[in-house]
């Protein structure tokens, strides 16, 4: 199908974009990579009256280290993350995550920040943000800049703490040191589809013992699901294949996944059991 009419605005600066957005926030949408918004518009599931195209605004792309954090600017394309030359556990997680996002022609356009602002609970970047307690920086003309932690950011499917007049400008993640290992595993019926269930882990192992454990699951709830039960099982224990299975079992007990045409709740629980050990095994490879 073809999208409905809209007014097209292409600001040259972030300030100009915020002014344009503030004119009619409820009827406007920010256009970044367009790989989720435009299909929805083609189906007329979304009919924004105005599109604010941020693709020509300078300084909205790139990844940089700032102290013990890594800042990813919002319009950084998936492909740039897949090709990232960052030889840390975080770099590895971002490269692997990007390789799971759609396909090459999706990754050339689609953006890291767009994926997070869109808030599909099975998206790799929402999972990574949940896993690492990311901090999202958003700006509006009326209220300036505010920073929202991941635990407050993701509200529900396609719904975040962002106000309609705000633009996501960057996401800050902890620069995990070399004592961390990271991993991601997911299952989809076709390569490149959104995962039915996805599992991510970041684990710090010192002298064979788990010092820090983070587990985040996708496809089991409306927002990225941090499994406190799995993290509790892992923490302070000696690393072993058995421990991975115990953690996965705890996570499977803890989640209450939805049933839909892609799989019922029990099936998703089984996927958690199967995928979490794979993600964590990657985590200590």
């Amino acid at each position: 199908m073809k999208p409905a009419n809209f007014e097209y605005v292409r600001p040259a600066s972030l300030e100009e974009a915020l002014v344009e957005l503030a004119k009619d926030p409820d009827e406007s949408k920010v256009l970044a990579g367009g790989q989720s918004l435009v299909p929805m518009m083609n189906f007329r599931l979304a009919r924004p009256e105005r599109l604010i195209d941020i693709n020509r605004i300078p300084l909205l792309e790139g990844v940089e280290s700032v102290g013990d954090r890594v800042v990813i600017r919002a319009r950084t394309r998936h492909l740039a993350l897949q090709n990232l030359s960052m030889s840390t556990p975080l770099g590895s997680l971002l490269r692997t995550g990007a390789a799971h996002v759609g396909h090459l022609p999706i990754r050339t356009r689609g953006t890291f920040g767009g994926s997070i602002a869109h808030c599909d609970a099975a998206s790799e970047w929402c999972l990574v943000a949940g896993l690492l307690d990311a901090e999202m920086t958003v700006r509006s003309q009326a209220r300036g800049t505010r920073t929202i932690p991941a635990s407050d950011f993701f509200w529900s499917i396609f719904t975040t703490a962002m106000e309609p007049d705000e633009i996501l400008t960057e996401v800050s993640l902890p620069a995990l040191d070399d004592s961390y290992r990271t991993g991601i595993a997911e299952f989809a019926r076709r390569a490149g589809d959104f995962a039915i269930v996805a599992a991510t882990g970041a684990v710090q192992v010192v002298d064979g013992v788990v010092r820090d454990a983070r587990v985040c699951l996708g496809g089991v709830s409306e927002v990225p699901f941090r499994s406190a039960a799995a993290e509790q099982v892992l923490l302070g224990q000696e690393w072993s294949p058995r421990l991975l299975r115990d953690a996965a079992e705890a996570a499977a007990d803890e989640v209450d996944p939805p049933s839909d045409s892609h799989g019922d709740g029990e099936y998703r629980r089984d996927l958690v059991r199967a995928l979490l050990p794979r993600a964590l095994a990657g985590a200590v490879r």
């Binding site: 073809k2 097209y8 435009v38 299909p39 518009m41 090459l104 022609p105 050339t108 356009r109």
Partner: protein, 159 residues
């Protein structure tokens, strides 16, 4: 009827000055306003890849970009692959020789996808090529000859 805007597109080195509504996708603008019907439209929501073209050298879905967004970019479609009327692009030649197409509907998308990949990275190995080819759908071939053709083109372009 919403207002049209003037847009200047550079496609395969040619300038096209067109008047379009902002909601016109790049794929529709190429076909209906520039007369370049080699770019095919299948699903119109980014899944099938039939409309894949190169924008500034990179493969994109032309159904997921508005033509107004492409102003000032360098666009390449299947009409711009062959260097002249007498020769084929190495990827076109390989699809011909390895029987990489049957009905041909998906072919422009596959050609642009593979050409974009190989012009960026001629040394692409088979594993990576399989991942690249998973971007697009073909309902005839079963993909094996598309893979063979793509690897034959890779060999020629890297050699």
């Amino acid at each position: 009827m919403s207002q049209t805007v003037p847009v200047r597109l550079y496609v395969n080195g040619d300038r096209h000055d067109i008047d379009i509504e902002p909601r016109r996708t790049l794929a529709d603008a190429l076909r209906d306003d520039c007369g370049l019907t080699g770019t095919h439209l299948g699903c119109e929501h980014g899944v099938c890849g039939a409309c894949t073209i190169l924008v500034d050298g990179k493969p994109v879905r032309a159904c997921l970009m508005f033509a107004v967004q492409a102003e000032g970019t360098s666009i390449r479609t299947v009409e711009g692959l062959a260097p002249d009327d007498q020769q084929l692009h190495p990827v076109q030649r390989a699809f011909w020789e390895k029987h990489g197409l049957q009905c041909g509907f998906c072919t422009p998308g596959f050609l642009m996808l593979v050409a974009g990949q190989l012009e960026e990275k001629p040394e692409t190995d088979e594993e990576e090529m399989r991942d690249v080819l998973s971007s697009n759908l073909c309902r005839c071939t079963g993909y094996q000859n598309i893979l063979k053709a793509s690897m034959a083109a890779a060999e020629e372009m890297s050699g």
